[in-house]
């Protein structure tokens, strides 16, 4: 028997299997392997997408017996001229921008600190990462208690530092505070994720680069801006992409926390879409809404990925 591992594998392959594939070209065998995945992808992704686009031009309601009628671009026109839709878009934009801003800022700072060698480093990493291990629904639920004006820890802490009466403000009931209440919770939960990605970026920078900079007498400040930040930037941008896509879909945490209120101030597009599709059962309308959101996210993500690739190429 040959000692070559490839020969050994060839010899170990059952003859019936080898016979079965004998005569197939490499291309055919490649298609045989890839085929099931492509069929699955077509079935669960592409077909529903095409079907959704088709439904978006109808007045179909999934809970009605009557047939759908084609109504052209009427659904799109109604969505884009609906003040409520724009309000939920604004709420989503506010949520997206500020969660990403704070998560990047705090996540990078934490990663920078954790990257320094100190005693208990691993323990602190584990503690910091803990919030992202929880279910968003659970987090939403228990933060409603933390935000309770009479018994909530959050109000108590704010009161302790500011002297304001804890029961004098309601984070989830106040028009000005409610949009920030969901930003705070999401930041608390997902900053560790950004931190981990930044940490991976920081640890990928070879020490030799910093040593060379030291030899050139570069200050710590200059090292940070000319070495650390540019080299971590692709990682940061990846984190922003992940968090952006995730937060665009944000649903469970906000539903548990505010139910979309007060009024519709924290009704994000995903909540609005769910209500249209599965509470009002306006399937055609909701399909058009989903297509608009898909195009928006897909367009923004494509532009962003191009920018990310350019940063990587530098």
């Amino acid at each position: 028997m040959s000692g070559n591992p490839i020969d050994r594998i060839a010899q170990a392959t059952p003859p019936s299997l080898a016979n079965r594939f004998r005569g197939f070209s490499d291309r055919t065998i490649a298609w045989l392997f890839v085929g099931p995945s492509i069929i699955l992808l077509l079935a669960v992704n592409i077909f529903p997408l095409i079907w959704t686009i088709n439904l978006s031009f109808t007045n179909f309601k999934a809970n009605r017996l009557r047939d759908a009628e084609y109504i052209g671009f009427r659904n799109y026109e109604r969505i884009l001229t609906d003040a409520d839709t724009w309000q939920s878009m604004q709420a989503t934009a506010h949520f997206l921008f500020w969660t990403i801003f704070f998560q990047v800022l705090i996540g990078f700072a934490l990663a920078y600190l954790i990257n320094k060698k100190f005693k208990g480093n691993d323990l602190w990493t584990t503690i910091i990462v803990f919030p992202m291990m929880l279910s968003p629904a659970v987090v939403g639920n228990f933060w409603t208690f933390l935000y309770q004006p009479q018994i909530g820890l959050f109000n108590y802490v704010v009161s302790f530092f500011s002297g304001v009466d804890p029961s004098s403000f309601s984070m989830i009931g106040d028009v000005d505070l409610a949009p920030w209440s969901i930003v705070i919770v999401d930041t608390w939960m997902w900053t560790p994720f950004v931190m981990l990605i930044c940490l991976a970026g920081l640890r990928s920078i070879p020490d030799s680069i910093y040593e060379a900079a030291e030899c050139d007498r570069a200050s710590k400040w200059r090292q940070f801006w000319t070495l650390t930040v540019p080299m971590v930037l692709p990682f940061l941008m990846l984190a922003v992409l992940f968090r952006g896509i995730e937060n665009f879909k944000m649903f469970d945490l906000v539903v548990q926390l505010t139910g979309g209120g007060p009024g519709s101030l924290t009704t994000l597009t995903s909540i609005d879409l769910k209500r249209e599709a599965f509470e009002k059962w306006r399937t055609g309308y909701a399909s058009a809404y989903a297509v608009i959101l898909f195009v928006t996210v897909f367009g923004l993500a494509s532009i962003y990925v191009k920018a990310l690739n350019k940063v990587k190429e530098r």
Binding site: N63, Y147, Q150, G152, G173, V175, G261, P262, G263
Partner: protein, 440 residues
Amino acid sequence: MKASQFLMATALTAVVGLGASSASAASMTLCWAAWDPANALVELSKDFEAQSGIDMEFEFVPWPNFADRMLNELNSGGTLCDLLIGDSQWIGGAAENGNYVKLNDFFEQEGISMDDFIPATVTGYAEWPKGTPNYWALPAYADVVGWTYRRDWFERPELQAEFKETHGYDLGVPDNLEQLKDIAAFFQGREIDGKTVYGAALYTERGSEGITMGVTNALYNYGFEYQNPDKPYDIEGFVNSANAVAGLEFYKALYDAGAAPGSSNWYMSENIDAYKSGQVALQMNFAFIWPGVNADPNVGGDKTGYFANPPGPAGQFAQLGGQGISVVANTDNMEGALAYIKWFAQADVQAQWTTMGGASAMRSVVEAPGFVDEQPYNQAFLNSMAIVKDFWAEPAYASLLLPMQSRVHSYVIAGQGTAQEALDGLVADWLEVFEDEGLR
């Protein structure tokens, strides 16, 4: 084992499995919300199991997810439920979409008369279209929004004296909504037994139906009408009448003056918690909670009193709750499901139902001599059931409910715009729904 033998064995196993499944057809699933009355129904149904030999299984879903879960089940043609105790507002959609079985012939055949039930519950839980003798359910659980109050606090001489001096009338069960607001404001932020307490726990929930189930108790009593009584779906000037605007302004004033801090998204369970933990003097809630309050070691017994929603300038009404029990059209055990309805409609079973923690809508039970004295809340329950009104029960009820949640919450809780703007906006939203539905 060759592949073909393996496939054969798998197929045989599947066939045997299917056989076993159909062999256990003598079981049925009843779907309802997960709450105390559902547990009572499990106990009550043991009698049916013993009589019929049918095993009862239960699928109980927590209230916040109940509508989503069950309407998805019905609309997707699911076969989970043979029997469903569904919300009163679902009846139109379930009837028109073929989700429920029409029960008229069955009732006639079995001698079940709707005259035996409280009329409002028949209209609310069983009829579609409303006001016509077309029955899709048997009234199963009678419920209505009412109030509980801390009688022990109300009876304190020092508080009575202070209240009388401030308002010029006695502290007690309010005679009207304005007095209710006075009382809520009186207790707001008050120190009682070394603890700060508040006026009232109101329905303010945004996500499902909470604030609508609360605000209607003010709107109805100030003169809000869903539509022109002479012209269906004509709502302009009825939904947004001057009286309706005053009703909405009242609810906001009540919230601002007497609601517990942080109660911007409260519904049934939050209100119960606030009341039982001694945070509030008054609690708005469905009557189903009253047995639990009465039995509570902290606030139960003599410490609590009960009253119907007080009248306003245009009359006295209260928001209907409760549900009817329906046979799901997709059931594969129609005979068993109908047998359950027949069993449940018996007067002695209904009496037992109330005794065990349910709330029968059968007149022989609630009009029986001694019923009022059986529990301290029974009189308030009867008074409340006599004044009920319900939200739309159209097939598009959710499309009508969601804008009301949004408009009312924006005004009452977020303080955005005026009451007139909120109701004008609601009229526009509802007219759009009616046009979509081809009703106008």
